[in-house]
Symmetry: D4
Subunit: 225 residues, 8 copies
Amino acid sequence: MKRQKRASNEYMAMIDWDRQDRQGFPEVVYCEGKTDEQCCSILSSLANTYDVCMGTRARPSIYNQLLPYISDIQYDELSRIIYVNRVPLHINGDRIIAVVTAGTSDIPVAEEAALTAELMGNQVNRIYDVGVAGIHRLFSRLDEIQEANVVIAVAGMEGALVSVLGGLIKKTLIAVPTSIGYGANFQGVAALLAMLNSCAAGVGVVNIDNGFGAGRLAHIINSQR
Amino acid sequence: MKRQKRASNEYMAMIDWDRQDRQGFPEVVYCEGKTDEQCCSILSSLANTYDVCMGTRARPSIYNQLLPYISDIQYDELSRIIYVNRVPLHINGDRIIAVVTAGTSDIPVAEEAALTAELMGNQVNRIYDVGVAGIHRLFSRLDEIQEANVVIAVAGMEGALVSVLGGLIKKTLIAVPTSIGYGANFQGVAALLAMLNSCAAGVGVVNIDNGFGAGRLAHIINSQR
Amino acid sequence: MKRQKRASNEYMAMIDWDRQDRQGFPEVVYCEGKTDEQCCSILSSLANTYDVCMGTRARPSIYNQLLPYISDIQYDELSRIIYVNRVPLHINGDRIIAVVTAGTSDIPVAEEAALTAELMGNQVNRIYDVGVAGIHRLFSRLDEIQEANVVIAVAGMEGALVSVLGGLIKKTLIAVPTSIGYGANFQGVAALLAMLNSCAAGVGVVNIDNGFGAGRLAHIINSQR
Amino acid sequence: MKRQKRASNEYMAMIDWDRQDRQGFPEVVYCEGKTDEQCCSILSSLANTYDVCMGTRARPSIYNQLLPYISDIQYDELSRIIYVNRVPLHINGDRIIAVVTAGTSDIPVAEEAALTAELMGNQVNRIYDVGVAGIHRLFSRLDEIQEANVVIAVAGMEGALVSVLGGLIKKTLIAVPTSIGYGANFQGVAALLAMLNSCAAGVGVVNIDNGFGAGRLAHIINSQR
Amino acid sequence: MKRQKRASNEYMAMIDWDRQDRQGFPEVVYCEGKTDEQCCSILSSLANTYDVCMGTRARPSIYNQLLPYISDIQYDELSRIIYVNRVPLHINGDRIIAVVTAGTSDIPVAEEAALTAELMGNQVNRIYDVGVAGIHRLFSRLDEIQEANVVIAVAGMEGALVSVLGGLIKKTLIAVPTSIGYGANFQGVAALLAMLNSCAAGVGVVNIDNGFGAGRLAHIINSQR
Amino acid sequence: MKRQKRASNEYMAMIDWDRQDRQGFPEVVYCEGKTDEQCCSILSSLANTYDVCMGTRARPSIYNQLLPYISDIQYDELSRIIYVNRVPLHINGDRIIAVVTAGTSDIPVAEEAALTAELMGNQVNRIYDVGVAGIHRLFSRLDEIQEANVVIAVAGMEGALVSVLGGLIKKTLIAVPTSIGYGANFQGVAALLAMLNSCAAGVGVVNIDNGFGAGRLAHIINSQR
Amino acid sequence: MKRQKRASNEYMAMIDWDRQDRQGFPEVVYCEGKTDEQCCSILSSLANTYDVCMGTRARPSIYNQLLPYISDIQYDELSRIIYVNRVPLHINGDRIIAVVTAGTSDIPVAEEAALTAELMGNQVNRIYDVGVAGIHRLFSRLDEIQEANVVIAVAGMEGALVSVLGGLIKKTLIAVPTSIGYGANFQGVAALLAMLNSCAAGVGVVNIDNGFGAGRLAHIINSQR
Amino acid sequence: MKRQKRASNEYMAMIDWDRQDRQGFPEVVYCEGKTDEQCCSILSSLANTYDVCMGTRARPSIYNQLLPYISDIQYDELSRIIYVNRVPLHINGDRIIAVVTAGTSDIPVAEEAALTAELMGNQVNRIYDVGVAGIHRLFSRLDEIQEANVVIAVAGMEGALVSVLGGLIKKTLIAVPTSIGYGANFQGVAALLAMLNSCAAGVGVVNIDNGFGAGRLAHIINSQR
């Protein structure tokens, strides 16, 4: 029962190589909860196979360990995405995804959504810090938002941005609650509940701080022909 | 240990007769959880002493039992308030309390707030069904709201009305979450959390469906000289 | 302060007549929490103005009161939708919305989604009772599901259907948790959490039992050109 | 898609310059969740424009970075408020805001409320550590409290101070639950629920540890003429 | 596998006949969740064996079915206790248990505590409706409370009575939260948390609405020599 | 879009006919949340195909509607199981499943477990009302329990029976929390948490009130050769 | 508004000097949430006045700062109690308080209870690690427990020890849930709920990890004559 | 009252030496919440008595302190199990326990289950990273899983693996939710609720991250003859 006798790859991931064919983009690595060793192993395999691939919630240490071996790997500190993007996917400039945030604290989650959408081949328009406490800021950029094909609204606190936007636009609205707040915010639960209960019907909600999920959902919708 | 040997008034309330002096309005009876007998006994005592007094969350049966004895008792079905108002308190028409609701389903709670404020001697302006899903409805009545001295915002679902209003007015804003909604609304918890976390700072929140508390708080603020 | 002196319409809704222009479909009435009188008043106004309009979570009593006045009003008991559909909106038969349920108990919520989507002008394919406990049932109808442009997955209990579907299809997946279950299901919370945490990235979740929201979101996505 | 190519200010806040006009005080910066860089940028802009402005939940590092550039910036460690107060707003000494705490552990939150109110131009009377476990301490200072125009009660644990005060004063009472406590306190939830359910009607509650919100609400009420 | 073939007593309770010896009072029947048939069977057995015995949360139908067979069985509607008390246990009039309530709505739970204590042989002093919103009511009866050997405080809403009492008396204080309240009261959770977090140390808390448990605990303490 | 034009079986279940082969017993119908029509349709199909089949949480009305068509259908009121059992499965009398309850109120859930196990071909020994408040009752029947091959412990309130049993037996222990209790019991959550956290390691827990799941799990384990 | 101009003692506690008279023991300092400076100031004042006094949840740094000034101050690392005990209160050796734990991890909380009781003048018998998973350990020491006048049961995980003890002893039982456990233990909530719902009636529960409260309650009961 | 006067072993554990006889394996030490000193003391005693024994959730420091004294003690970093295994228990190679995980992040919990089962004398087959997002990975190893006598499914996020597996296998399925996830995952609550509500009946669930409990339960079932 000596642990060291086992092949070390027994504890490594079983990559879903079929994902690219089945869903149009390689498996994305969720780095949290995995060891650096596991993350590097999976990301190496992916980066050696695909021109575009990515991992989310990555620590800088993963990037530092991979860089000597994969010279074109990139790391975005704000969104914590690690990726290669050798041959960017074709971007249709007419179909814009708008990523809107209520405050500046919501930007890291918004960037996870934006960069995900970009890597999957979408044009993104960032419209940050337009929360409803100063609603004129939102109205001053409403035209831009309405021109988008899909809108991702990212908000913490009470998430009211989603309900206001939901009543003003015709296109798909994706809501991302963030964990920004304190006390009875319960790490984003207040915003999550607000978005699920939005009086503006027809909003698709993702998990708290799940910028990646929102970016991917926006991409799927935007890819629809 | 025979129960019937006890004086029946042992189970009756100990009315806070000092309340009128201490806080400017007689004790208000919260009827829920009390028997009809208890409610009638307390309300009779109050109505025989004061020209203006009230009970909240009253059942029609209480009104029906009291009417033969207190001919000028009144009952408002919508707000479930039972009251006498023989010599209405002086109303200062320059200091208006605006009661604003997001939807029509929020009206019963709003009416509890409005009627409470009126009985305590305030001028009330009702502005109902101006939720943010159709935000032009709110803007079309914003002047009226801004003219008020105190604003009570009543909303269920995700309660976004409070945050939008909070960014647009200079005067005191009181927020009342209602239990309107379903699923992840959790009987008003979603709206309550949203209001407590409102990005519009300086909002005073009361309990879910507590129109009475909001009306009373608005009255206290409005009475300030 | 006599309540009866007030114009009764003070307590009536302020219909968002602009909604049709702004968002392409008239305001939809959420009947729960409104009195029959309020529901009938709003629905009458809408039905006298539009050829297609609808209310959700309607009680039969509302239908019975409206029928003498609006002879072509219809009521669907299963989904509890009340509607008129005089001149059905054009349906594009190539863009199908698949509504999939895990069990038979989920059908009422699924029907709310399906009928909403149909009234808004979409072709719907119902695929019911294909939950993962007998996963061959799901695979036997996977082709149909994959042909759809948008998929709505409706499930209670633990909502695992969403994760399995999410790994198998390329198109947009909307998840509707239902309150079917007992004990630690907490009226749909178990399914809601499962869907928000789905390992299949890119799923848009709506509130528990919110078939209407899912139908409307699917319609918005399906309308995208 | 090189991140560094973007203008760095794309990730900076969109300051609500209109706030001063609309609500009588410049936008207040909530520093938590923002990077030092973001906080300094916003605070610099505000301090260069206004004589009085402030940020809450500020880390000392923000103060240290700003001091070389804004020599009159001040930092209060207890309340974690960073501010400039060059030309203090006029204080009406007749309208006092009393800030009352149950214990000494509640003082940091109380100071956030007190300093906020002071910066906005109010006279504040601090009455600390008068919780109900030794209720004579409260009664010994009741006169002072009753003389105030607005009372802010700050309490953790079970928050009983609010209910006792609420029955003893005629003026507006604002309740601030703090996260002081352990176990079934749930980081302030026990106090929050107690305050929302206070048998003393007419209390306005703010979020857990939200001294700023309480200070601002007290200021709005105190400013009313 | 015919159900009817089984002896019907297979589904009957296994009475803990040893309880009287082990703990000084016969097993007490918790009637909720048991069928009338089960309750009557257990109560008959007990009443045929002991001179004093009782059941809690009893429905009137149980009393009506037992009365023809046990002529001296008694039922107290307020507390829902069913009991026989043929040879009352000796009461020591010097050791009084005070049962104190915050409001009149708390009386049924208080009566469950009081009657339990009386049946077990204690002298009880009822002091009802002395909640802290009108704290002079409490002080006017403080002497009586301080004379008691054990005090049971029964309160719903925010349960502040417990903390105030806890700071004023030297003797044992038992706290009973009640489910009186609404909204963020969560059926007594607010009061329960307040009592568990009371700043007045040394309070023993029982379950929400558990008057019986409080009465029994008070009896055990009162019996101590 | 006429609802009546659809084949009514579109809303009927898609029975998992393969279940018997795959898992050794036909699909079991969960009747709650299904209409009588749906339940009867599924149960008819099953009863016409199999000699032994069952439905759980069945209402008497389902039984009454089926009886004229399926004369040997049986209904057990206590457990709410509807079933046919024409050719009972072989029972191995040496491998006993013990079903143990803490109180009499837990019996309906226990019977759901017991009858499920019996219908699947197991010998069941019922040992009811042996909760730990009178632990000698448990010890007096411990031999019987220890003789069983699998033990199902059914308990509400605080579920302590499971931990005590878990320390005393060598065989598999399955824990079923019931919703018996009130207040801070939260409809069985207290017992569920207790069982999940049992200091007696190696206990398999099922959902609150899920007697069926426990019976089935016991059967699977008991069938193991 | 210079902070440094204020007298530093404005932020110091208002000691309840009356507590000793009113409740028989000086105010006890809860050190968590207070600065070292505040703790030392209060403890110095108390130690200079009383021969016996104490603080709970104290950090070693407080002890280290006080030791040079109060040479007989003592600190118990296990229970985190800081105290002076110059003239120990008279201990009645006939009235023992038993402190019982389920596991070894519960000992720090148990020691807080035990040392509190000892400082207040009680004889304590420690009986540790006798949880129900190996119930013979409990029975082997049952005589000792039954001889005690008051029993404090300290347990984490699922807290079953309380229910078993509650059925076996005649004297007062105080239950202390601890935060020992993980996962669905929720930092002691599982044990807290179990103890509140104990089938053994008449148990007084204190907050999670509140050894001090239990020790004080036991002392009050034990002091009763 | 000098603490140091007490025998230090008063704070040491009371080992359940009878456990081996009663349940077939020595007491297993849960190291979390115990001091290094306590853990070492207990583990030494056990290792000096038994050839096979173990502790869970052990810190490396415990291993480092024990190694000089117990040269054959082993520590597995991944599962955090510390153990001696001098004379491995006989393993029946025909009765395999399959440990299956949804992702690579679930492996530490899975290893706790696997190593526990191995130490108790079972053959374990590890099948990792076969979650349902890429369901072909699961099907590709289904034969292996179906050959096992007992299956342990370990999953975080939404835990859908359990429901899919539950519908595909005939043998006992044990479900272990892990705390892998974020946001509305609530440290494993989402997976726990999903598993308790699984539509695949007959699943035994253990606490979040409780690999040990699952391994032990699997062993008990696997040992059954």
